[in-house]
Amino acid sequence: MSTVEEALGPPMGLGTADAVPLSLRGPAPVRVVAGFGFWLFLLSDILIFAALFAAYAVLSAETAGGPAGAALFDRHNVLIETACLLASSVTCGFGSLAMQRADLRSTWFWMVVTFVLGATFLSLEASEFARMVATGAGPSRSAFLSSFFALVGTHGLHVSIGLAWLVVMLLQVATLGFQPMVSRRFFCFALFWHALDIVWVGVFTLVYLMGDFH
Protein backbone atom coordinates (compact mmCIF):
# COMPACT_ATOMS: atom_id res chain seq x y z
CA MET A 1 0.00 0.00 0.00
CA SER A 2 1.46 3.35 -0.94
CA THR A 3 1.67 6.19 1.54
CA VAL A 4 -1.00 8.06 -0.36
CA GLU A 5 -3.50 5.24 0.04
CA GLU A 6 -2.51 4.79 3.66
CA ALA A 7 -3.16 8.43 4.40
CA LEU A 8 -6.35 8.83 2.47
CA GLY A 9 -7.96 5.48 3.16
CA PRO A 10 -11.30 4.35 1.82
CA PRO A 11 -14.11 6.83 1.34
CA MET A 12 -16.25 6.86 4.45
CA GLY A 13 -19.62 8.45 4.79
CA LEU A 14 -20.34 8.12 1.10
CA GLY A 15 -22.68 5.63 -0.59
CA THR A 16 -21.75 2.14 0.62
CA ALA A 17 -20.80 3.35 4.10
CA ASP A 18 -24.43 3.40 5.22
CA ALA A 19 -24.81 -0.30 4.44
CA VAL A 20 -21.94 -1.30 6.76
CA PRO A 21 -22.24 -0.84 10.54
CA LEU A 22 -19.70 1.52 12.04
CA SER A 23 -18.18 -1.27 14.17
CA LEU A 24 -17.51 -3.46 11.10
CA ARG A 25 -15.88 -0.86 8.92
CA GLY A 26 -12.32 -1.66 9.90
CA PRO A 27 -9.65 0.88 10.78
CA ALA A 28 -10.52 4.50 10.11
CA PRO A 29 -8.36 6.49 7.68
CA VAL A 30 -5.18 7.96 9.20
CA ARG A 31 -6.53 11.45 8.64
CA VAL A 32 -9.60 10.73 10.79
CA VAL A 33 -7.51 9.11 13.54
CA ALA A 34 -4.96 11.95 13.55
CA GLY A 35 -7.80 14.47 13.54
CA PHE A 36 -9.41 12.76 16.53
CA GLY A 37 -6.15 12.69 18.49
CA PHE A 38 -5.58 16.37 17.80
CA TRP A 39 -9.21 17.07 18.68
CA LEU A 40 -8.58 15.54 22.15
CA PHE A 41 -5.56 17.83 22.55
CA LEU A 42 -7.68 20.84 21.58
CA LEU A 43 -10.35 19.92 24.13
CA SER A 44 -7.74 19.63 26.89
CA ASP A 45 -6.36 22.99 25.76
CA ILE A 46 -9.85 24.46 25.98
CA LEU A 47 -10.05 23.17 29.56
CA ILE A 48 -7.05 25.40 30.37
CA PHE A 49 -8.99 28.30 28.92
CA ALA A 50 -12.07 27.24 30.92
CA ALA A 51 -10.07 27.59 34.14
CA LEU A 52 -8.81 31.01 33.04
CA PHE A 53 -12.34 32.09 32.00
CA ALA A 54 -13.62 30.97 35.40
CA ALA A 55 -10.85 32.95 37.16
CA TYR A 56 -11.69 36.03 35.09
CA ALA A 57 -15.44 35.70 35.71
CA VAL A 58 -14.82 35.45 39.46
CA LEU A 59 -12.26 38.27 39.65
CA SER A 60 -13.52 40.74 37.04
CA ALA A 61 -15.11 42.99 39.69
CA GLU A 62 -12.06 42.98 42.01
CA THR A 63 -10.34 46.11 40.73
CA ALA A 64 -8.76 47.07 44.10
CA GLY A 65 -9.48 50.74 43.44
CA GLY A 66 -7.72 50.54 40.07
CA PRO A 67 -9.19 51.01 36.59
CA ALA A 68 -12.14 48.83 35.55
CA GLY A 69 -12.62 47.25 32.14
CA ALA A 70 -14.83 50.01 30.73
CA ALA A 71 -12.06 52.58 31.24
CA LEU A 72 -9.34 50.40 29.68
CA PHE A 73 -10.79 48.65 26.66
CA ASP A 74 -10.96 50.23 23.23
CA ARG A 75 -13.89 48.62 21.43
CA HIS A 76 -12.71 49.67 17.97
CA ASN A 77 -9.43 47.90 18.61
CA VAL A 78 -11.33 44.78 19.72
CA LEU A 79 -13.56 44.90 16.64
CA ILE A 80 -10.50 45.05 14.35
CA GLU A 81 -8.83 42.20 16.29
CA THR A 82 -11.99 40.10 15.97
CA ALA A 83 -12.22 40.83 12.25
CA CYS A 84 -8.56 39.85 11.72
CA LEU A 85 -8.93 36.56 13.55
CA LEU A 86 -12.21 35.66 11.84
CA ALA A 87 -10.82 36.52 8.40
CA SER A 88 -7.66 34.50 9.13
CA SER A 89 -9.82 31.50 10.07
CA VAL A 90 -11.52 31.66 6.67
CA THR A 91 -8.28 32.19 4.73
CA CYS A 92 -6.82 29.22 6.62
CA GLY A 93 -9.81 27.17 5.43
CA PHE A 94 -9.23 28.34 1.85
CA GLY A 95 -5.59 27.33 2.30
CA SER A 96 -6.55 23.79 3.29
CA LEU A 97 -8.92 23.60 0.29
CA ALA A 98 -6.06 24.71 -1.98
CA MET A 99 -3.85 22.08 -0.35
CA GLN A 100 -6.41 19.36 -1.08
CA ARG A 101 -6.30 20.40 -4.74
CA ALA A 102 -2.46 20.37 -4.54
CA ASP A 103 -2.44 23.93 -5.87
CA LEU A 104 0.92 25.33 -4.75
CA ARG A 105 0.42 28.98 -5.62
CA SER A 106 -2.96 29.44 -3.94
CA THR A 107 -1.86 27.36 -0.93
CA TRP A 108 1.07 29.73 -0.45
CA PHE A 109 -1.13 32.76 -1.04
CA TRP A 110 -3.75 31.78 1.56
CA MET A 111 -1.14 30.68 4.09
CA VAL A 112 0.69 34.01 3.79
CA VAL A 113 -2.61 35.93 4.08
CA THR A 114 -3.44 33.87 7.19
CA PHE A 115 -0.02 34.68 8.66
CA VAL A 116 -0.38 38.42 7.96
CA LEU A 117 -3.85 38.54 9.56
CA GLY A 118 -2.67 36.58 12.60
CA ALA A 119 0.38 38.81 12.98
CA THR A 120 -1.85 41.91 12.72
CA PHE A 121 -4.03 40.52 15.49
CA LEU A 122 -1.00 39.82 17.64
CA SER A 123 0.54 43.27 17.13
CA LEU A 124 -2.78 44.97 18.00
CA GLU A 125 -2.97 42.90 21.17
CA ALA A 126 0.66 43.60 22.04
CA SER A 127 0.15 47.35 21.59
CA GLU A 128 -2.97 47.17 23.78
CA PHE A 129 -1.01 45.38 26.50
CA ALA A 130 1.87 47.86 26.21
CA ARG A 131 -0.52 50.81 26.46
CA MET A 132 -2.20 49.31 29.55
CA VAL A 133 1.11 48.57 31.29
CA ALA A 134 2.38 52.07 30.45
CA THR A 135 -0.66 53.68 32.10
CA GLY A 136 -0.10 51.70 35.31
CA ALA A 137 -2.72 49.06 34.57
CA GLY A 138 -0.31 46.13 34.44
CA PRO A 139 -1.03 42.60 35.67
CA SER A 140 0.15 43.42 39.20
CA ARG A 141 -2.33 46.30 39.66
CA SER A 142 -5.39 44.26 40.71
CA ALA A 143 -6.84 40.77 40.70
CA PHE A 144 -9.04 41.82 37.77
CA LEU A 145 -5.99 42.81 35.70
CA SER A 146 -4.05 39.67 36.72
CA SER A 147 -6.87 37.47 35.46
CA PHE A 148 -7.29 39.64 32.35
CA PHE A 149 -3.62 39.37 31.38
CA ALA A 150 -3.59 35.64 32.18
CA LEU A 151 -6.63 34.90 30.00
CA VAL A 152 -5.95 37.21 27.04
CA GLY A 153 -2.18 36.64 27.28
CA THR A 154 -2.60 32.85 27.12
CA HIS A 155 -4.75 33.26 24.02
CA GLY A 156 -2.10 35.56 22.50
CA LEU A 157 0.58 32.98 23.33
CA HIS A 158 -1.44 30.34 21.50
CA VAL A 159 -1.75 32.63 18.49
CA SER A 160 2.05 33.15 18.51
CA ILE A 161 2.60 29.38 18.62
CA GLY A 162 0.11 29.07 15.76
CA LEU A 163 2.06 31.60 13.71
CA ALA A 164 5.32 29.73 14.33
CA TRP A 165 3.59 26.50 13.28
CA LEU A 166 2.29 28.22 10.14
CA VAL A 167 5.84 29.26 9.19
CA VAL A 168 6.98 25.66 9.66
CA MET A 169 4.10 24.52 7.44
CA LEU A 170 5.08 27.05 4.75
CA LEU A 171 8.63 25.68 4.80
CA GLN A 172 7.41 22.08 4.71
CA VAL A 173 5.14 22.77 1.75
CA ALA A 174 8.10 24.41 0.02
CA THR A 175 10.56 21.58 0.72
CA LEU A 176 8.43 18.43 1.02
CA GLY A 177 5.55 19.37 -1.27
CA PHE A 178 2.04 17.98 -0.87
CA GLN A 179 2.92 14.73 0.85
CA PRO A 180 0.13 13.15 2.90
CA MET A 181 1.95 13.86 6.15
CA VAL A 182 2.34 17.53 5.26
CA SER A 183 -1.33 17.81 4.38
CA ARG A 184 -2.24 16.04 7.63
CA ARG A 185 -0.13 18.46 9.64
CA PHE A 186 -1.76 21.38 7.91
CA PHE A 187 -5.15 19.82 8.68
CA CYS A 188 -4.20 19.76 12.40
CA PHE A 189 -2.92 23.33 12.15
CA ALA A 190 -6.26 24.41 10.69
CA LEU A 191 -8.10 22.71 13.58
CA PHE A 192 -5.82 24.55 16.03
CA TRP A 193 -6.36 27.89 14.31
CA HIS A 194 -10.16 27.51 14.17
CA ALA A 195 -10.21 26.47 17.86
CA LEU A 196 -8.31 29.67 18.76
CA ASP A 197 -10.99 31.64 16.97
CA ILE A 198 -13.64 29.86 19.07
CA VAL A 199 -11.75 30.79 22.25
CA TRP A 200 -11.57 34.39 21.01
CA VAL A 201 -15.40 34.44 20.67
CA GLY A 202 -15.54 33.69 24.41
CA VAL A 203 -12.86 36.29 25.16
CA PHE A 204 -14.46 39.17 23.32
CA THR A 205 -17.91 38.33 24.67
CA LEU A 206 -16.94 37.83 28.32
CA VAL A 207 -14.04 40.28 28.63
CA TYR A 208 -14.60 43.09 26.19
CA LEU A 209 -18.36 43.27 25.64
CA MET A 210 -19.73 42.25 29.04
CA GLY A 211 -17.21 44.49 30.82
CA ASP A 212 -18.27 47.42 28.69
CA PHE A 213 -22.01 47.60 28.07
CA HIS A 214 -24.06 50.45 29.50
Binding site: M1, V4, L8, G9, P10, P11, M12, G13, T16, A17, A19, V20, L22, L24, R25, G26, A28, P29, R31, V32, G35, F36, W39, L40, L43, I46, L47, A50, A51, F53, A54, A55, A57, V58, R75, T82, A83, L86, A87, S89, V90, G93, F94, S96, L97, Q100, L191, H194, A195, D197, I198, V201, G202, F204, T205, L209, M210, D212, F213, H214
Partner: protein, 121 residues
Protein backbone atom coordinates in the same frame (compact mmCIF):
# COMPACT_ATOMS: atom_id res chain seq x y z
CA UNK B 1 -18.16 -15.58 9.32
CA UNK B 2 -18.00 -14.77 5.67
CA UNK B 3 -19.66 -11.42 6.46
CA UNK B 4 -16.26 -9.92 7.20
CA UNK B 5 -15.06 -10.48 3.66
CA UNK B 6 -18.17 -8.92 2.25
CA UNK B 7 -17.60 -5.90 4.48
CA UNK B 8 -14.12 -5.34 3.18
CA UNK B 9 -15.12 -6.04 -0.41
CA UNK B 10 -17.65 -3.26 -0.19
CA UNK B 11 -14.95 -0.67 0.16
CA UNK B 12 -12.97 0.68 -2.70
CA UNK B 13 -9.35 0.90 -1.60
CA UNK B 14 -7.14 3.77 -2.61
CA UNK B 15 -9.85 6.15 -3.70
CA UNK B 16 -9.12 9.69 -2.67
CA UNK B 17 -11.15 10.67 0.34
CA UNK B 18 -13.51 13.50 -0.40
CA UNK B 19 -14.94 15.76 2.27
CA UNK B 20 -18.35 16.87 1.13
CA UNK B 21 -18.65 19.47 3.90
CA UNK B 22 -15.43 21.36 3.15
CA UNK B 23 -15.74 23.72 0.22
CA UNK B 24 -15.64 27.42 -0.52
CA UNK B 25 -19.36 27.67 0.05
CA UNK B 26 -19.16 26.34 3.62
CA UNK B 27 -16.34 28.72 4.60
CA UNK B 28 -18.10 31.68 2.98
CA UNK B 29 -21.44 30.83 4.62
CA UNK B 30 -19.66 30.36 7.96
CA UNK B 31 -17.93 33.72 7.53
CA UNK B 32 -21.26 35.43 6.78
CA UNK B 33 -23.01 33.91 9.81
CA UNK B 34 -20.05 34.59 12.12
CA UNK B 35 -19.86 38.22 10.94
CA UNK B 36 -23.60 38.60 11.58
CA UNK B 37 -23.25 37.16 15.11
CA UNK B 38 -20.22 39.35 15.87
CA UNK B 39 -21.90 42.55 14.66
CA UNK B 40 -25.05 41.63 16.59
CA UNK B 41 -22.94 41.15 19.75
CA UNK B 42 -21.31 44.55 19.37
CA UNK B 43 -24.64 46.26 18.60
CA UNK B 44 -26.35 44.57 21.57
CA UNK B 45 -23.56 45.62 23.93
CA UNK B 46 -23.48 49.24 22.75
CA UNK B 47 -27.19 50.03 22.43
CA UNK B 48 -30.39 49.57 24.38
CA UNK B 49 -31.85 47.32 21.74
CA UNK B 50 -32.27 44.67 24.44
CA UNK B 51 -33.65 45.27 27.91
CA UNK B 52 -30.43 46.28 29.77
CA UNK B 53 -30.48 43.56 32.49
CA UNK B 54 -30.93 41.00 29.69
CA UNK B 55 -27.84 42.12 27.74
CA UNK B 56 -25.43 39.53 29.31
CA UNK B 57 -27.87 36.74 28.46
CA UNK B 58 -28.24 38.07 24.91
CA UNK B 59 -24.46 38.24 24.51
CA UNK B 60 -24.07 34.67 25.78
CA UNK B 61 -26.72 33.39 23.38
CA UNK B 62 -24.97 35.12 20.47
CA UNK B 63 -21.59 33.73 21.59
CA UNK B 64 -22.95 30.17 21.75
CA UNK B 65 -24.58 30.63 18.34
CA UNK B 66 -21.28 31.83 16.88
CA UNK B 67 -19.36 28.93 18.47
CA UNK B 68 -21.88 26.57 16.87
CA UNK B 69 -21.35 28.23 13.49
CA UNK B 70 -17.57 27.85 13.88
CA UNK B 71 -17.86 24.17 14.84
CA UNK B 72 -20.08 23.29 11.90
CA UNK B 73 -18.69 25.49 9.11
CA UNK B 74 -14.99 25.80 10.05
CA UNK B 75 -14.24 22.64 12.06
CA UNK B 76 -16.66 20.60 9.90
CA UNK B 77 -18.29 18.83 12.79
CA UNK B 78 -21.14 17.00 11.13
CA UNK B 79 -23.44 14.03 11.48
CA UNK B 80 -21.14 11.74 9.46
CA UNK B 81 -19.54 8.63 10.98
CA UNK B 82 -16.08 10.23 11.15
CA UNK B 83 -17.46 12.94 13.46
CA UNK B 84 -19.06 10.57 15.99
CA UNK B 85 -16.03 10.25 18.27
CA UNK B 86 -15.26 13.96 17.98
CA UNK B 87 -18.80 14.87 19.03
CA UNK B 88 -18.69 12.52 22.03
CA UNK B 89 -15.36 14.00 23.13
CA UNK B 90 -16.72 17.50 22.56
CA UNK B 91 -19.80 16.73 24.68
CA UNK B 92 -17.55 15.60 27.51
CA UNK B 93 -15.37 18.71 27.11
CA UNK B 94 -18.44 20.96 27.20
CA UNK B 95 -19.59 19.22 30.39
CA UNK B 96 -16.23 19.82 32.10
CA UNK B 97 -16.05 23.44 30.89
CA UNK B 98 -19.58 24.02 32.18
CA UNK B 99 -18.74 22.46 35.59
CA UNK B 100 -15.52 24.47 35.97
CA UNK B 101 -17.00 27.83 35.01
CA UNK B 102 -20.44 27.70 36.65
CA UNK B 103 -19.03 25.85 39.67
CA UNK B 104 -16.39 28.53 40.23
CA UNK B 105 -18.84 31.39 39.80
CA UNK B 106 -21.40 29.74 42.06
CA UNK B 107 -19.02 28.84 44.88
CA UNK B 108 -17.18 32.16 44.89
CA UNK B 109 -20.43 34.17 44.69
CA UNK B 110 -21.72 32.22 47.69
CA UNK B 111 -18.48 32.81 49.58
CA UNK B 112 -18.49 36.48 48.63
CA UNK B 113 -22.07 36.87 49.84
CA UNK B 114 -21.21 35.30 53.20
CA UNK B 115 -18.13 37.50 53.59
CA UNK B 116 -20.19 40.60 52.84
CA UNK B 117 -22.55 39.72 55.70
CA UNK B 118 -19.59 39.56 58.06
CA UNK B 119 -18.06 42.88 57.00
CA UNK B 120 -21.37 44.75 56.97
CA UNK B 121 -21.75 44.52 60.73
Amino acid sequence: MDGDERVFDDRTPGVEEYEPTANYWSYTAGLGLAVLATIASFVVSQTHLLWPPGIPVGLMVLAFAQIGVHLVFFLHLGSGPESTNNILALAFGVLIVFLVITGSIWIIANLHWNMMEMSAH
